[in-house]
Symmetry: C2
């Protein structure tokens, strides 16, 4: 590996004021980790040349690869490039191809050309330029011999929707060339198993020096594994990742959880459980409908996040009251009375009812207590307390109906966040149950 | 003002690996800006004493108030406190009240007491302790005379759901005392006007030295204003904010936008447009129902985000296909044929239909093209192209029905983000329309 230490410097007063969250640093940090390049520092500094210069000098004394994000725009307070070039002993010259690109973008948007715009195309003569298809300011890399040795700086535009694709399409290949190796990543999404259990059952795969590297990330009850391989060709890298992904499927989770890891995997190279569900439903020519109480449309919203959802979902219900549960999806008054609204039986009738009403292949019913306060309901004429976080989820294909009871604990979250946590977890659980049912058809 | 320069240091390897996004720094930066304490640097460093020590020394040379977040936990790699205390020349002693609190939490969770847990209660003898009601590790402030002058460090636990309430409840009052002034903030939420227009019409209020200060934040078509006043008593501060908030309502938006700012305000001291809507509906004893096509449940999901939503929403529909638009909310086949599914007429019938079916006071109908590809539909027997981002939103109370057509441009976003952008904007617009209708009743 050519680079032994890297760091990320984000430039922008809006970051220092907390107006925006620094997602760029997290994105680049993850990418550097995937490439196996150690990153020891991140910093944020305002659009102030003196403070930026001091920050850059400190960075050069301890890192050989420095990422700079933000401050490449056309206005007078965008000074990242000028300051960094000066520290690296470079002069900026007009980069004609970049200037032509900027002019073309302005023309397309019917904006006038101004001298300011030219500023964005001023780059060091020996820079490696990263053409920006998502905005006007190009990114670039520059390398110089300094008193601390050979140093590389990579400057990228700040907006995440420019930086992220620009990195993926141009910078990652550049770093791969610079390191004479190719990198390839594969993501595995899991649900129903915690990070601690995954850590333990995959400890062999997570040892240093393995190829691919295996790293878990977690959030809201979902664990993601990222496999990153390195090699001479993309085929070789992909094959390495694929082979290990196949091995991982059959790793036993005992004694931490029952079964093998495959039981918890919702997707390989798939962004979300809803994407996996929509893909599977489309592949099997199946449709789905939901009757949602406590999740209030969250499951339908997540399914319709995915392009192509219209092939698998034609209609869905939010049945928040007992009235609408009866009227919209045919839950029986007797069932509500005997078992109470928070019950496996009601969830089951909701699932069966929405499936029938819409004429879908799979029906989902969800009823539960999303808030932070326990609910008191009448069950067979008696008052019963149902703890906050109790959710019943039913999933049916008309022949088989599965019902699961969750007891979700939002911990010490504030009320609104606790509510979001319970609703998000419940909707993820429902999507996962539907996925498993669709796969079995 | 006692503090002339502050900075924020976040400690944690998970930040350096990009596993988590640094929301703590943005939160504290916003708070420091609200207090008028300049913040010139943010940095992230791993759980490494040597690198943290170097970072702290640099910070002491340039700032007099230093926030440290993360690394206060019970495990051996949590070294923030030990390192910071050493740099400040402080010795850690057992803080009995904190230890008692930790033991109580462990007892409640049925966890054994370990020597590690004691580590969390070791604090400098002269520390100002911030009791943590949201986790085990207490926060604290320590002040020392260093060769660079008097310096204060404030150490807080890393998890945002501990840090944020702990800051608000304990640290903000502490800083207010230290600065011999009280601070008070008031948020104003707006929709339908851009940040640039708000900047211009409120330029007088944004001048330096005003009390309260007025700062705009923007995101996804919503602009928020934050008013922060300072004074001797809370009543004085609150009155100052309230008075300026009242003035701001009647500021003309001409020539940038029609009307006055009040036309765009959805709430004062209110977290979200859905919160404003649910509050208003509850206050007016009104109920609402939606028939959502392209938003696929997003509006219902946002309404049910709010505790108490069950009083205002009993049932709602996702009618994604033409079939379910007819079957579930009674859109006429003829309307679909004559005007096409993407039309003001269909949105109107969806709004009227869901209102009638559920028996709600207000009905919302949404139909449009959420994807990045234009849609081709049949209208009166002819093929018509509807551009991506075209959304029709109808809102009715049975007597009056308003229909609006949006042309949302997701810019150069990636497909999934473009979809989310259009759906989020459309749902915000629908919530805002419903709010205005509810207010007029």
């Amino acid at each position: 590996m050519k680079y032994t230490a890297s760091e990320i410097i984000s430039v922008g007063t809006e970051l220092l004021l907390g107006d925006i969250i620094n997602t760029d640093a997290a994105f680049l940090a993850r990418e550097l980790a995937a490439l196996g390049i150690p990153c020891y520092y991140q910093s944020v500094v305002g659009d102030n040349p003196a403070r930026l210069q001091a920050t850059l000098k400190t960075a050069l004394s301890r890192s050989d690869l420095i990422f700079l994000t933000g401050g490449l725009g056309p206005t007078a307070d965008d000074l990242t490039k000028e300051t960094a070039a000066a520290v690296m002993g470079k002069t900026l010259v007009l980069h004609e191809p970049s200037y032509a690109r900027i002019r073309a973008v302005l023309q397309k948007r019917n904006l006038p050309e101004t001298e300011n715009q030219k500023k964005q195309a001023m780059l060091p003569a020996d820079a490696v330029v990263f053409d920006n298809d998502y905005g006007t300011a190009p990114g670039f890399a520059m390398t110089a011999q300094t008193e601390d040795g050979e140093k590389t700086m990579i400057l990228l535009p700040g907006p995440p929707r420019e930086l992220e694709p620009l990195y993926t399409e141009r910078v990652r290949p550049y770093l791969s060339t610079a390191t004479e190796e190719l990198f390839y990543s594969l993501n595995i999404g899991m649900y129903g198993i915690g990070e601690a259990a995954v850590d333990r059952v995959l400890s062999d795969y997570m040892e240093n020096g393995r190829n691919p590297t295996v790293a878990p990330y977690c959030g809201e009850g979902e664990v993601r594994l990222r496999l990153t391989s390195r090699g001479k060709t993309e085929e070789e890298c992909r094959a390495l990742c694929r082979r290990v992904a196949e091995e991982i499927r059959f790793i036993s989770c005992e004694p931490y959880r029952p079964g093998v890891l495959n039981d918890y995997i919702w997707g390989i190279d798939c962004e979300s459980v809803q994407e996996a569900l929509v893909k599977t439903l489309r592949g099997q020519h199946l449709t789905i409908s939901c009757a949602e109480s406590c999740t209030g449309g969250y499951v339908a919203k997540r399914i319709t996040d995915i392009p192509g959802a219209s092939e698998v979902l034609s209609g869905s219900f939010v049945t928040y009251s007992e009235e609408t549960k009866k009227k919209m999806v045919g839950v029986k008054a007797e069932t509500l009375q005997t078992h109470s609204v928070y019950s496996a039986e009601v969830a089951k009738e909701m699932a069966l009812g929405c499936r029938m009403t819409v004429g879908a292949d799979i029906g989902i019913g969800i009823t539960g207590v999303a808030g932070v306060d326990d609910a008191v309901v009448t069950k067979n004429g008696e008052s019963v307390t149902i703890p906050a976080g109790t959710v019943y989820i039913a999933c049916t294909d008309g022949k088989t109906t599965a019902v699961e009871r969750l007891e979700l604990s939002p911990g010490r979250r504030a009320p609104l966040e606790a509510r979001e946590y319970v609703r998000r977890r419940a909707s993820t659980h429902a999507l996962f149950m539907a996925l498993r049912m669709a796969e079995k058809r």
